[in-house]
Subunit: 242 residues, 2 copies
DNA sequence: TTGCGTCAAAAAGTCATACTTTTGGCGACA
DNA sequence: TGTCGCCAAAAGTATGACTTTTTGACGCAA
């Protein structure tokens, strides 16, 4: 055991010391608690978290690779302004969703979604495998069932599964990688009471339309239907936050 | 000086040992030279690159944070399959563009672009500042001039500036972060001889249309014009690679 | 007073080493 | 043949010594 851990940042963190310190510092940066321009030293990080310099260095290197901080000799570790952040890094996204700009982050993601989901729908219509078509049909079916029973969590699960499958079916690995993002947006919406207790039947019908258009290999129809899904969701979110 | 550097991976790398080893290993993973499932040990990395264990560990931690490798006790460092890669990480994108899936990466990025650039154009029409409008107009002007003179590099610069400004004008930080990606796609197209020696006047006219629509705060028009820009570029690229 | 050169200290970068912890594999025993 | 336990391999962590870069301060000169 380290001499005297002072047990400062024992955030549980069952992933080793590294993961714990990384999370703690990452949160502090993206939340703005550590403002841009502020400088830390490795020594202070060691002291604050009760870890050795080696661990602190590894953490800083990872944070640096996300654009959150920059390390310079004789100066220390400087917190970077937002413009330098790698805003597509899954961890940065998650940390921001945990922090105070949760709303802003969700808005950004929604706008983004408006761009890539229709494209994914069009591509999926050209490339989806029969299995993927079946999965999407099943997801729509689940949406209908859970929408009727009023089980919002289950509905959310089915919705997420639908979009994740569609993105994977696009055959574009970058689009597929955005599945987590969409899941977050959907979850954020549900857990903020934006979902009517009785999910909009029209939304479900549109999902069904997308699934059928993909099955029929009709890119134009699937893209149009997806666009309408997004518009509807976007309007709801803007009404809440914007 | 280290005892006997064996001068193995002296790739120049004027950013410290860390940067050099990171680049070398990153390239080897994304290029497929190190196949998924293959395991390395820290010791072997130290030996291969003539660095200490501390440096090797920091590199692995960063690679791990990109999803390229995973480190487990008693096993070593395992190269991860593509599905786990953080494909939006700027370095991963750059490394892939340097490697053998350059073509595939460019195709992925083009498809993505078809999604987000029209959205950015629409948002920009609602949010662009007068300065940004002016910058876009200037970029279009440069495109005309350099297109006429046949200076492809300068044309490329102006084109990139146009799109970067537009993305920034969208007011969405995630869209803005995609500017580098667009620049890469444009550069890839130019440096692969896809550009006609005399740039398509119609393309320039469309850029002008976007700039004017943004200035007039007309989202529908700017989005439509941008969509046509992408379609044209996309067709050219598909003809070359697809 | 200003401007430039030098110097010392601060902090990261690097290395070496010792120790701890986890875990996969192998061998012994039932 | 199957299971249990031990061992060793490899990462995780800690510590300390040394190197290198950079900056801020001091002093000297114009």
């Amino acid at each position: 055991m380290p001499p005297s851990p002072t047990s400062p940042t024992r955030t549980g963190s069952p992933g080793g010391l590294h993961a714990g310190v990384l999370h703690a510092l990452g949160i502090r940066v993206v939340s703005g608690e550590l403002a841009a321009g502020q400088v830390l030293t490795l020594e202070s990080i060691c002291a604050d978290h009760g870890v050795s310099r080696a661990v602190a260095r590894e953490v800083i290197r990872v944070l640096e690779s996300m654009g959150l901080v920059a390390s310079r000799r004789r100066v220390g570790v400087t917190v970077q302004p937002r413009e330098g952040w790698h805003v597509f890094d899954p961890r940065v996204i998650r940390w921001r969703l945990e922090g105070p700009d949760r709303a802003e982050q969700l808005l950004s993601l929604s706008e983004l979604r408006r761009g890539f989901e229709p494209v994914a729908a069009a591509l999926a219509a050209e490339r989806a495998t029969p299995e993927q078509c079946a999965q999407m049909a099943a997801a729509v079916s689940d949406m209908v069932v859970h929408g009727r029973s009023g089980d919002l969590e289950a509905y959310l699960g089915a919705d997420s599964r639908f979009h994740a499958t569609l993105l994977a079916a696009s055959g574009n690995e970058m689009l597929r990688a955005l599945a987590d993002v969409v899941t977050e947006v959907l979850a954020g919406r549900t857990h903020h009471g934006l979902m009517p207790a009785d999910p909009n039947p029209e939304a479900i019908a549109l999902h069904d339309e997308v699934a059928r258009a993909v099955r029929d290999q009709d890119p134009v129809r699937s893209e149009a239907a997806m666009r309408r899904i997004i518009e509807e969701a976007s309007d709801a979110m803007r009404a809440e936050f914007g």
